[in-house]
Symmetry: C2
Subunit: 287 residues, 2 copies
Amino acid sequence: MRTWDTLAVVGPGLIGGSIGLAALRQGVVGEVVGIGRSQTSLQTAISRGAITAGTLDLAAGVRDADLIVVCTPVDEIPYYVERVAEACKPGALITDAGSTKADLVARIERARSGSASWVDSVHFVGSHPLAGNDKRGSDYARADLFIDRVVVVTPTAQSRAEDVRDLRNFWTALGASTVEMTPAEHDRAVAVTSHLPHLIASAIAGSTPAEYVTLTAGGWQDTTRIAAGDPLLWRQIFFANRENLMAALSHFDQTLADLRGAIEAGDAAALERLLTEGKRIRDAVGS
Amino acid sequence: MRTWDTLAVVGPGLIGGSIGLAALRQGVVGEVVGIGRSQTSLQTAISRGAITAGTLDLAAGVRDADLIVVCTPVDEIPYYVERVAEACKPGALITDAGSTKADLVARIERARSGSASWVDSVHFVGSHPLAGNDKRGSDYARADLFIDRVVVVTPTAQSRAEDVRDLRNFWTALGASTVEMTPAEHDRAVAVTSHLPHLIASAIAGSTPAEYVTLTAGGWQDTTRIAAGDPLLWRQIFFANRENLMAALSHFDQTLADLRGAIEAGDAAALERLLTEGKRIRDAVGS
């Protein structure tokens, strides 16, 4: 199994900081260099034990890294992957932690094929850890964030089998189980399992009149929790996965229309059948 | 402040059992008689400390009670309130824990005005504790279920001020804060804060293909948690509050259409504004 001396994390926030914490805790890497945008956030990450060194200088930060994880907002991932590829050493492996994959992987592979400074031995394979919450910053980083979570790894025809294997081993060492999907398959799936719930949660919260807020209880609170997420990040995700999200929304609309029809018609059997179907799928996941 | 020697709970399940546990723990009552439909469930409630005695015989169970709480599914509440009123002692106060109020309170007041066996000194005032979850049965009852939760009390023109005051004091003693609303106001509010989220959660769960279930994470799980609720109970609630639920759904539809429009148009400013509005309302509630 490939070992990594130095891990670099571009954007050591909730996800990036948790990767650093977990990788150090598990002894998967010796050093974690955090590349941030302010000394304050780097200081926080160091004091949390999420990184062993921090710098604002991307080129300096990735120079000695064997593995680099780009944990920026999705729109910025291709840009940073390109900058990393120009500055890192031959043989380094680059991945990311973005919530969408098809568009950014295609942009990165186009950039790689057209780049003079991207050496042949530096490779990129996309990742998406299905973990995280509505918090931001390494203050909320946790060494156990990936334990029993799924990380989707998204190779393409250009990916080398050994990189995919090494990357899966890395995530496995952090406690996750890994799944391999094409970037397009990944985006179709997370449109349903992540992006649609976020959109709907926002619509529920946004349509709740202020005077009713004190009458909310556990159900509303659970259902709308992710609506507290960062609007800028989610705007980027929704745009990056627009087509799949709209398809998932159409499917949701149809199920909701069936429920509405049963309620309006007073059709007890149909309504119970639909509610039972939702319960069956929910029960399959556990609490 | 009025004291209660004996509390009777019709249907000592999650809510009814928690009322018994909390009332005994707080010393608000001396005895709690549970009226159930099987010896097994009564035995569970006794072993949990939720009731001090149990019976299948409604008339015997409520005979000595000063306060009776009917905790059955909403469709059965008027029936049981009438049976309680025929059997309880003069001066007793009856309430319920139903999730809808307008229809059942009207049915109970019509029954009272037309009943020969319902003595003048026995009164009913509706309650709705905004607590509970997708579990059923006194196995899940908790003495702290009402702490820091809201209980809506729904008096009408027929209600006596002292009964409303005593009932609010009872819930306050269990750790809740109380709010007074008319049954119609209550139903409009909970259509938005409880019934709509449940309907939507069911539609999200029901529209998730089985092959994607392993790719769900915290967002999907939070958003769909209440879809695990009992289909029969929720069918009754949706039917009992149909008009208000459909109005809440229309409002939700409009907010969702705005979000969809911004995504389809690629309107970043509009999408961020809508997501920020949802976040603002969600943040007002806390985690």
